[in-house]
């Protein structure tokens, strides 16, 4: 049965279709997808493994932002969280609404994401390859805070009748995770030695997290990554297009799928050959390429353009990316629209960013899928590129809301696949025991 929709080129059975159309994420038999699995955690004090029930989660460790995904605790929906990669030590506020403040293990108190950017004192966290980032203890603390935000958004934690978290100990959360890394850090043999070594810095490490909310109420969490499955970031978007909620491939006649993933730091292509074989499942072959910088190549010139107009305004990279998204900055204490300036810089710089994408558009034998935060920012320019040579069935613009977090959602699908293998093994061993 051919189920590819000609209007959007998405199979109605795919994860991506269900997410785009807000359908419940259940299997074709109406069953809930697994949220957790029996696994093991490392007991650091007694130096031994202990059994635990681990929640499935995905982390896309982007340069511009943390993107996390997990199924909601109560509903068959995917919860995603995107938090700008920004960190600043917390300051004492003397009045007004408080700021969500974090402390992880013995760290200093700090703010993350938009709160950090808006403080105007944001510190730059390391960007680049996984092993260039995870050694920084501030980055580890930032990551732990992001995981708590993801858990909260997914309905975990102890809540009162008003739905707010109760100001108390929230419990221990052991996460069976997939972890998005730059495509070039993974080969057929698995992750590189440097990447594996870097990920071990956070593997099974207990993060004791104190979160103080805007009203000053404290909650305590213990979060541990009991499994980390590294995956290539851009492939995950393809996975959401290609796999169904049953964990099987969609029925498709497409033979070459190219994901153009325009992220904050970098732009990647991910080419997947779907090798159709007679009387055998489709075989996949994947190749990923770094095409150049992502939206940072627009944010930086925008920062310079702002500085040229307003000499006292100095934005960090993360503040510039945030301004690009919100199209507002504070000038002399006043929030000011910078729509015209953003449009000007996009016009001037988008050709440079999208130059390497053009060859994929002109190559007429592939199917193109545009995703990432930059796909939203540059939609008009991308549509102008594809319109002259392609019909609507030959490309796909991922939904605006899903685009910035699709690599994390795909990561969840990948984590779930490996989790299902463990569950299947457990089920077969328990049926033997009965």
């Amino acid at each position: 049965m051919q189920t590819i929709s000609t209007a959007t080129n998405m199979s109605q059975d795919s994860f991506l279709w269900k997410l785009t159309h807000g359908q419940p994420l259940v299997t074709s038999r109406g069953r809930d997808l697994p949220r957790s699995l029996p696994f093991r955690k490392w007991d650091i004090e007694n130096r031994r493994w202990e059994p635990t029930q681990a929640l499935i989660a995905a982390i896309d460790n982007g340069n511009d932002a943390f993107k996390g995904a997990m199924l909601h605790a109560q509903t068959p929906t995917m919860t995603t969280k995107r938090i700008i990669t920004a960190y600043t030590p917390a300051r004492k506020l003397r009045g007004g609404e408080g700021v969500v403040t974090w402390q992880v293990n013995d760290s200093e108190e700090f703010w993350v994401g938009e709160d950090a950017v808006e403080s105007k004192k944001v510190e730059t966290l390391p960007i680049g390859m996984t092993d260039e980032r995870l050694h920084d203890p501030r980055y580890q603390s930032y990551l732990a805070a992001c995981l708590v935000e993801l858990l909260m958004a997914s309905g975990y934690g102890k809540r009162g009748n008003d739905g707010r978290l109760l100001p108390e100990w929230q419990g221990e959360y052991n996460l069976y995770s997939s972890f998005g890394v730059p495509n070039e850090e993974i080969s057929l043999a698995g992750p590189t030695a440097e990447t594996s070594a870097a990920l071990r810095l956070i593997f099974n490490v207990p993060f004791h997290i104190t979160r103080t909310d805007e009203r000053g109420q404290k909650t305590g969490w213990l979060v541990r990554l009991v499994e980390i499955n590294p995956y290539p970031q851009s492939f995950a978007s393809f996975a959401s297009w290609y796999y169904t909620t049953d964990g099987t491939p969609i029925d498709t006649r497409i033979v070459k799928h190219v994901t153009i993933d325009i992220g904050g730091g970098q732009t990647h292509s991910c080419e997947v050959d779907l090798i159709h074989r007679q009387d055998a499942p489709i075989k996949l072959r994947m190749e990923a390429k770094l095409l150049g910088e992502g939206t940072i190549s627009i944010a930086r010139p925008m920062k310079d353009a702002i500085r040229a107009q307003h000499k006292a305004v100095r934005l960090t990279d993360s503040a510039a990316q945030y301004a690009l998204m919100t199209r507002q900055i504070a000038i002399a204490g006043e929030l000011t629209d910078i729509n015209d300036l953003v449009a000007e810089v996009i016009t001037a710089r988008s050709k440079q960013l999208l130059g390497p994408v053009l060859e994929y558009v002109q190559e007429g034998q592939n199917f193109l899928m545009f995703t990432g935060g930059g796909r939203v920012l540059l939609e008009q320019q991308l549509r102008e590129m594809v319109a002259p040579t392609r019909s609507e069935s030959q490309y796909l613009f991922v939904d605006q809301k899903l685009s910035p977090v699709l690599n994390a959602i795909g990561g969840y699908i990948l984590a779930q696949a490996t989790a299902m293998k463990i569950l299947a093994a457990n089920a077969s061993s328990s049926s033997v025991l009965r």
């Binding site: 419990g171 990920l199 593997f203």
Partner: protein, 141 residues
């Protein structure tokens, strides 16, 4: 049964009014209505907590909780279906006629079936190799 009194505060007025109406309709006392609501409500609340280390929900095993809940929720589920408000109406095969053909049939099963083809395919591509594989003593910890 515990006999020590529990003073429950902050019950919204609307809830008290509904309880009063049920009481008038059924002949049960208001206290009985509230006690029944607490019994079924607490089972629903138990489904909202994360399973603990032994896999129970607030101390109640999942299979037991499911059986207990079924008795309490069947009338509510019937009502939601009747009113077209069930969140999985499409997948239950009671959607509008146009949706029925596309909606998968709901087949209750005793045990889930896990398809491992995707994991096998990913392993062949170099993905899905978790750090815990073959690791006896985690370096990070």
């Amino acid at each position: 049964m515990s006999s020590d009194p529990r003073n429950i505060r902050n019950i919204p007025d609307e809830v008290t009014q509904i309880a009063r109406r049920i009481s008038q309709h059924t002949g049960l006392s208001e206290s009985d209505v509230l006690r029944l609501a607490l019994c079924s409500g607490i089972l629903v609340e138990a489904t909202k907590v994360t399973p603990d280390r032994s896999g129970t929900f607030a101390g109640v095993p999942g299979a037991y909780l499911a059986k207990a809940l079924r008795r309490h929720l069947s009338s509510a589920i019937d009502f939601l279906l009747e009113q077209g408000q069930h969140p999985y109406q499409g997948t239950l095969g009671t959607a509008a006629p146009a949706q029925i053909s596309a909606a998968p049939a709901f087949v209750p099963e005793s045990e889930p079936v896990y398809d491992t083809a995707m994991a096998d395919e990913l392993e062949g591509m170099g993905f899905g190799m978790g750090l815990s594989m073959g690791m006896e003593d985690p370096v990070g910890a």
